[in-house]
Point group: D3
Chain length 250, copies 6
């Protein structure tokens, strides 16, 4: 149930039985030689939509450009400054809160977003409550869930890719995009097959250490079939988490 595919009267009706909404958030940044620049946005958007179907929940519009300052050394990467992303999330959530939404479940596709999302939640709480706590009898709650969270997903990663899933331009996220957008599958040589791992210092250092953009991954192992397994596992996991979130008492 995508918010953008409803009429306003349908949203009004939805609010009579739920105040929860799923908010996909991704990134638009390099994902190595065969990964799409939109990988994180695509994963978050498609998985969130499926979670909405399973959990009978409204799904808001995707935040497609996230916090990707560290990838700016690679062509095509886009980024919001953390302060801009905080402002965007604040406007999204407070717009919906005006209509009565109260529980916001962010389905995230990008590790680099996590810190800023956490900061944004508290900027939102501060503004929702007001400086003097006038609205403190009402609770607005935001929750973050990454699509790869949970033991089921990490087990699947080990089973399917062993030690080759990696931490950026992962085999699993490339596989998910191959599953949901089969026409975009790219062929590319990976040299070395498994990219190096490690820390980095800023965009220039990132590019020096990881010249094709991958970290620790071998995404040439990705296939649409494997992607479907990750997709389904993630949807099942997140639907459970969403339901638990909605059942929490305040």
């Amino acid at each position: 149930m995508l918010l953008q595919h409803q009429t306003w009267q349908e949203v009004e009706f939805y609010l009579t039985h739920s105040t929860g909404i799923i908010m996909p958030i991704g990134s638009t940044e390099q994902h190595g030689p065969n990964g799409l620049i939109g990988t994180d946005a695509i994963c978050a958007e498609t998985i969130a939509a499926a979670v909405g179907d399973v959990a009978d929940a409204m799904v808001g519009p995707t935040i497609g450009v996230g916090m990707a300052v560290h990838h700016m050394g690679f062509t095509g990467t886009m980024t919001l400054r953390p302060s801009t992303l905080i402002a965007v999330m604040r406007d999204y959530v407070l717009s919906l809160a005006r209509h009565g939404f109260r529980r916001f479940f962010f389905v995230n596709g990008h590790g680099g977003n996590i810190a800023t999302i956490g900061a944004a939640f508290y900027e939102i709480y501060a503004e929702f409550e007001g400086a003097f706590g006038a609205r403190q009898d009402q609770e607005l709650v935001c929750r973050l869930a990454n699509w790869w969270d949970g033991k089921a997903l990490s087990d699947l990663s080990k089973e399917v890719f062993g030690d080759q899933d990696g931490s950026h331009a992962t085999a699993s996220e490339v596989a998910v995009t191959q599953y949901v957008l089969p026409k975009t599958i790219k062929q590319a040589q990976m040299d070395p097959p498994k990219a190096p791992s490690g820390r980095f210092h800023g965009p220039a250092d990132y590019r020096r250490r990881f010249p094709d953009g991958r970290i620790g991954s071998n995404p040439s192992l990705a296939t649409p079939e494997k992607g479907q397994r990750f997709f389904d596992a993630s949807v099942a996991e997140l639907a459970k988490t969403y339901k638990a979130f909605m059942e929490e008492k305040s």
Copy 2:
């Protein structure tokens, strides 16, 4: 050619022969009893993608939530503050400018965005140049085009809908979404068939004057077939405008 469906190496290659990019921008707001909340985002995104195909141009990620303060009286509407939208557009454009993009062609789906887009362009120019004009030997140019711009489109509106196209939740925009997303077609009674017209003062006054959200339109006349005619006409018109824009000398 969607930026999000490319690898970073493909974007690097694209920049060897063009510095232009198409940027869709819409809104997430009420569109009357049978119009989707995402109408403006959907029109901008799908038309921009088709223009990219025709004009062989890169298409950036859609800005899906725009400036819709005046629709906030209707459930489900989302809005960015004008100042937030300016920050978002600045980050989008300057991210891409770092990689070498220089001409930004915004395909807009929402009249209410126009003023803020215009303001954002000059915020961007000011920041790109720097306070002391250090980068003034390079030109970064933004251009705005609404999908309904041009005589071909206004003629079509008169031919297909006479005086019933209206100015919000228009028959033509509803028809475009029916064409591109046939599964989302809604049935709804319109009473009166053609909505009243006129000005309004703020969200509350808007809702008082236009209780179901439409202004001057009769979107029950919309059909997917009519939508296709608007879609095709808009794509043809915008592809021409984009090419002319890219051929302008600076």
Copy 3:
């Protein structure tokens, strides 16, 4: 009736019978070889004051520096960033709203301000209403009117200057300043007499294409007598528009 020429008790009395106020907004930017840098501020300020007299309306202080990023290639031009201008307009309007003013009629002297003024209006509405619509039972309305708006003015332009009025450093605006400030009349050679027309890309491109700053105009045709005709026509037109604005129901 200038706000700055009243005592606070006089403003208090005014508010017992009207909540309307006229707000002049101009720019401080090059206006070609014989146009004053303050042309837009001077036109807006003097015409607004006369409208106030005719319409028996309060007139606020002039915003004398507007959005002129594109003129920054010419010495003496000043500009606010769009985001600063939005903050200024917000503070002006909300200050006056605290005392009970509710209808704000901006008399504008500069085409380059229009987009940012439109964006500012919605920033103001959002802040006036508050994030949760607490003040939505009250309507605060802003309206924009350019001094050259309306058929009477465009007819006069054609009659007096034919095709030589132009679009920047126009013959008519130079004439208005000659009428209201006869001591500032400048002599300057225009070469060519009628400046070239066309679009431009940013400050540097503007200066390359239009080396003396004019666009499409021949302001050597300006005289104080012609200026008076434009001044009078504009005041009559705007007084009518203001009255109609005040009579609109909300």
Copy 4:
């Protein structure tokens, strides 16, 4: 020599022999029963213009609305937030700095502006230099001068008004506006003739303690003739200060 009354070529010529400019800044706020709401802006603007004539200096556009939060309990008062005023001053000064102006002499008409002006100067210096001091070989200098500064003015105050000049809605500032705008002279009873003095806490407390807005003053003693003496003395004093400022070496 008002910047707004010059052509851009005249400003270009001026910069060949001086990089100094006088910047008037006032306020739009209550000034008691016979003082104009624009008193501070009018004093700053007219005195600055005369200083410009005496010192052969360029005079920029007036900042007419200042920092008057503490007067907001009185109808008609307008204020910028301190943070907005800082942004405005930054944009004014950096616009002019781009063209080559380097010494900014602010002629101030309102005590309540002083702190924020001081803060703005350092915001400007920080931005002019850049975070890494790249422009540190160039010096941009801002200086503040109140029109009532100096021994000559305080002696005149004692001579003309004894202990009745006061600290807000002063007899001397009302007199200056009567001199420069004789048509705006107001008649009003003052009860008591000399207003009470003292500190205050916020807008509401201000109004409780000083119900007609004056602090310590008896502006019924103001006359245009007395105003002329203050005007002339201030112009002479400030012209000297400006020249000394321009002669300082850096």
Copy 5:
């Protein structure tokens, strides 16, 4: 070696052999019945100072008020908005970067700061590099370390407090403040001895669930002697981490 206890010439000398600096960051918020409001600031400041001694590193001034929106239901708690904290960290780091510091090691005392610190790092990187990557040949690196990080500390927690250390107003942090500030030791009844655990939604819900402010902890077990063990273990651990950080190549 505290920056605040050096002369500027001593800092100049330090920079000839190291570009690293330790930055303590804490919080000022409720810590239950016997915990100090300044617990997190005190732990971060004192541990950071000792790490500086061990590692022969400069230690900057403490950020004493952090992000504590969720504790605002308890008297005495102070918070910066996330956006303010980001601005503060940006100014701190870029001030020091101007003098040549390049590696910033934040010693953190408050879990609630972690997300915002992460967001701030990328805001800093974006500003240091500039929108167009002009400074991308230089690397400025920020690193976060919590004083309780590492296996040594978690083992010690289990050994000393078993399952009673908790997650807010922990026995170990209270013990550390008792060790470094023995005069501030408080006596208080804990009821129940071990506070309840779990999640919370916003300030009001926090207070409802955890009425005395503690989460999962029994800080009546704290003693100065135990505090010393945690203090020493943390200093040893962080000194190692700092040295490794300084040895990383970029």
Copy 6:
């Protein structure tokens, strides 16, 4: 009574009999050859704490980094932009106002902070009251006191240091830090013994004119014993001022 050394229940109790709080604010900037970079923060913090003891008042956390843009030419200096310092002070004061604090007595250690502190007070008042004066029945008052204010202190300066106290890196402030932190006493040659005096233009000009950072001072005359005299005099003076402030009626 330091806020950071209290439990939240102790603060709650304090508020039953006082709504006043002392807020130390300093700076982290060069103080010449034998002055500590933290001089202003150390003076403000230690004197404020002692005032709190004498006046039985709560003392908040120190703002240790202030507005020191003009000292940025000297290594080790840190600065907040004025706009950042305003945001910090706003968050500090409004956090405490939520709990019931209403009178804020800032003890300042740095002349360069004064303007920005004044600006911040009005930003705070504006936000506390709200745009529409909703909270205008309550008074929140901020007051600034420099530790060197008052005749007692200036007399002591003349008695102890004659004309050698100076205006930056003063003998008296260096002496105060020697008294409170005797282990940090530095030996340094002063050449000339008394530094030159005068104005300056920006950071680079400051360093040119005052190459070792001092202005008009001879801090080699500082001793801990002299420091104690200034410390005690300041505490006595400020305690009186604080009590008078708390006794003011609103």
